[in-house]
Amino acid sequence: GESVGLHLPTLSVQEGDNSIINCAYSNSASDYFIWYKQESGKGPQFIIDIRSNMDKRQGQRVTVLLNKTVKHLSLQIAATQPGDSAVYFCAENMYGNKLVFGAGTILRVKS
């Protein structure tokens, strides 16, 4: 049969605005979460990570928030730039070394 591709949600923001990308993860036992950025023709690029004993972590222009109660993760990008345009994935480490990826969100930055 014919496989149906994922219809990724798209977030469009104006250059200079803040972006918030959301992710719902699946397993309450997951203890480690990573946000990746994927540009066209490239592999997932590490942005920031957070462990389950934290609820917030900040990097350069990025902040990750973790809400374990509702199994929700968000990535905030401050002062979004055209170079931030990409697909963003959250990934959870459920056990061992395996990462489980979310479906992804397309971020489009308008100049």
Binding site: V4, L6, Y32, G43, P44, G96, N97, K98, G102
Partner: protein
């Protein structure tokens, strides 16, 4: 900044043929992984490798798949008899430590097309 490198960037193979995808992980990393991404779908875990043996594998990683670290720098994925449904992007990743201790860093992938 050190990076994971993968070759070739694109591989076209006839169905039933064997294919080997190659990766050079980051030099001081100890854990190695393969993932795949079928067009339009999620990135899926295939296998993890540590201390010269498979530490974990998914249901996708059946007897047609094998991994090897033939020397101190390369990490390979072999598909023995390729099928049409093996067409995908294959990503290699490596990490300094396993589990929740260190992030996995990915290469830019090999696009495998099975005809």
């Amino acid at each position: 900044e050190p990076e994971v490198t993968q070759t070739p960037s694109h591989q076209v193979t006839q169905m039933g043929q064997e294919v080997i995808l190659r990766c050079v992980p980051i030099s001081n990393h100890l854990y190695f992984y393969w993932y795949r991404q079928i067009l339009g779908q999620k990135v899926e875990f295939l296998v993890s490798f540590y201390n010269n043996e498979i530490s974990e594998k998914s249901e996708i990683f059946d007897d047609q798949f094998s991994v090897e670290r033939p020397d101190g720098s390369n990490f390979t994925l072999k598909i023995r008899s390729t099928k049409l449904e093996d067409s995908a992007m294959y990503f290699c990743a490596s990490s300094l430590a396993g589990g929740s201790n260190q992030p996995q860093h990915f290469g830019d992938g090999t696009r495998l097309s099975i005809l």
